[in-house]
Symmetry: C2
Subunit: 470 residues, 2 copies
Amino acid sequence: MIYAVILAGGVGSRFWPFSRELEPKQLMKIVGEKSLLQSTVERVRGIITPSNIYVVTNSIHFYEVKAQLNGFGIPDDNIILEPQGKNTAPAIGLAAKFIAYGDPEAVLVVLPADHYIKGLPGFRRTLKNAIHAANSGLLVTIGIKPTSPATGYGYIKIKSKIKNQRSKILAVESFIEKPNLVNAKKYCKSDKYFWNSGMFVWKASVFLQEVKHYLPGLHRSLVSIHIMKDVERVWPTVKSISVDYGIMERTKKIALVPAKFYWSDLGSWDSLEEFFHKDKSGNILSPDTLALGCKGVGVFSRSNRLICAVGAKDLIVADTPDALLVCSRDKTQEVKKLVGLLKLANRKEHLVHLTERRPWGKFTVLQSGPRFKIKLIEIDQGKRLSLQRHKQRAEHWVVVSGTATVTIGNKTMLVRSNESIYIPNATLHRLANLTAAPLQIVEVQTGEYLGEDDIERFSDDFNKGSRLDV
Amino acid sequence: MIYAVILAGGVGSRFWPFSRELEPKQLMKIVGEKSLLQSTVERVRGIITPSNIYVVTNSIHFYEVKAQLNGFGIPDDNIILEPQGKNTAPAIGLAAKFIAYGDPEAVLVVLPADHYIKGLPGFRRTLKNAIHAANSGLLVTIGIKPTSPATGYGYIKIKSKIKNQRSKILAVESFIEKPNLVNAKKYCKSDKYFWNSGMFVWKASVFLQEVKHYLPGLHRSLVSIHIMKDVERVWPTVKSISVDYGIMERTKKIALVPAKFYWSDLGSWDSLEEFFHKDKSGNILSPDTLALGCKGVGVFSRSNRLICAVGAKDLIVADTPDALLVCSRDKTQEVKKLVGLLKLANRKEHLVHLTERRPWGKFTVLQSGPRFKIKLIEIDQGKRLSLQRHKQRAEHWVVVSGTATVTIGNKTMLVRSNESIYIPNATLHRLANLTAAPLQIVEVQTGEYLGEDDIERFSDDFNKGSRLDV
């Protein structure tokens, strides 16, 4: 049987400030109306039955991934959770182990969740060719014919020139790390070089054999995992390593199948250029933007602020409510480094958006003062927050739309739109939306101490993953 | 007697988005802890008695100017209000007329409210020289010796070279409009050229004679004004014209006194360069900014967002909660044009900040939704809003600091910190801060229609000027 293993554990920090560690690139809508993860699932589900589609992700993303997969028919158990990201080799190994346990002959189609692909018929033909090769025991990498001398990708050199355009399976000579521009130009002109796309097809059993041979430490870890719960114990000791570096550059069983579709890894802000409308001066402008004498400027906005650019050239402006990026177009790769610095500085802006998602909905801190904090809280249909209590702070709730079911002490009551209620400090309370419509409330917190850690939880519907309450 | 006429009617739109039509440059703190208007008053009050200091401004700025002049001992009646801005000749004419009425021998020191000056002793010596010349019937313009080939200023050519460094009063040959760079370089090297600073000294009577001769229409308008109230009727028919173009370029009575102080007109974002600390790469960075590989970047922030710049060169970033400007450093003059476009487009961002000032305090719209609006309202000590009523919307008020005196219908009560109160629609109400401490409340408006025009006012402490309530 054929299985998809979708790798959705990355951070995609080069799209900061749109992407955050807790809201990574693959869960974002970058091009089109679906997230990259949803588009990836959509692409394979005509070829692979939903119950055979697996998604590997970080456990902190469980509820968001689950919500995004809603409607695709993928069982919750197919979401494989890593307590820590360990790069691609361990992630694929973990999926291979679990799938092979139920189906020793399983063939895995390994797909990153955060790429853009156009041309579904070509994608299917490519997979068919790759599956054919995989069935004969090869580790197949899907190669992209370069269309530009990109220096941001690894390249794969094949053994002989392609004589016949129809050749479907090619022998690989070597892997080449990200080249300089001179070499990239040479590779781009030659017909012996492909971009390394990170898409692979192989039998789970063959892959695990190669792991045993080339990454024996990882193999021992995988062998010691019997049930999903074991992962939490074993994973911290697993070494981070990419499948390219750990297996593909060393295995003798490698083959390359050329992609018959359009591909972009959406690697940085600059890569979005081809997906959006440009004005006569080559500017991509979000709706609430005014540009005067600009050229090659890309404005991407998730705030509701007016953005004006005057006389700017070759610049990316990416705006969110709590963080702004202004980046020269030829330096968009550096954004990753920037995010690393923010993390080192213990900032919040690399981790979460101002509007933070929770399994039950989301909330935004609208304003903080010395003795107050104002939040807009949105609770999804049928969801409720934990039963909780705050030592220090009191809370005023004004329902602005929907109907809240509020428990205070041992009383439960309905609070309707345009009504308000007061929760004194030290009082047990719970907020729920038992209706079929969304619920929005404004919470005004007052008190001497308003830290998020002033909360005691007594009962919670959500305990998978590790995201905080509100 | 000597009088100061401080011209505080400008908009200073080149400092958008920090400056707005209702919060113009002269009322802003750009350099130092005082506004430019306050610094201007401070500069002259050692030389001119406060009761002789007049400020000409637009009537919409009355309460803000009054608040800024608090403590300087300047009578409210010395704030001369124009219902519309008509450029400098009418503004000075109006002040001259009113001052000459009480003191026919008055000498006026005319100062723009929005310039930066350093060197108080030199400033005083300059004024002394200029007043001396004015007393002999001359119209004195204060000229600045160019320190760079600036193309943003008008130049004044004197009749003969300065042979004696001590020469205090110079004859003027001609006015030169903003030159190109080639000419500016020539002027900068020569000792016959000065920058036109817009600071003037003359007898009110001499000035009004020249207005009669060169601007007879304006003179007729001024003659028809007998009391301040007449201005409202007359002003709409007055033609906008600068004193340079209308009088100084044509009068035979002109003389130039060289400035003996450091001067900057703070004409644009780029002019701030000399006032702020630069890092090794020539970047000026506001506190919450991270710059990676940037050169010559100026980040000015009035938002509380993180700003990151990567690989940018010679760029100004000016950030506010509702509008962002990204501007090439050599195009900062174009910001004025940009603001003109915003005005044409009927935007709000050229007019007011997200936090709007009112005579009684200020308010900020924190969030708007389809059926709700959340405001943070701050009421100054001893102030109150109008007695009012809304047809459509209901209001929830949560006091977050201070004590509110709230009238609802015919009842008045105290609402203390951490207490809340509900104002149903169609109910007469009033919000007051009768304490000696500031009052902060969070207002959650709910209802089908939340437009600012849903208000009926029954009594108001503020009716001078034309600023809206909340």
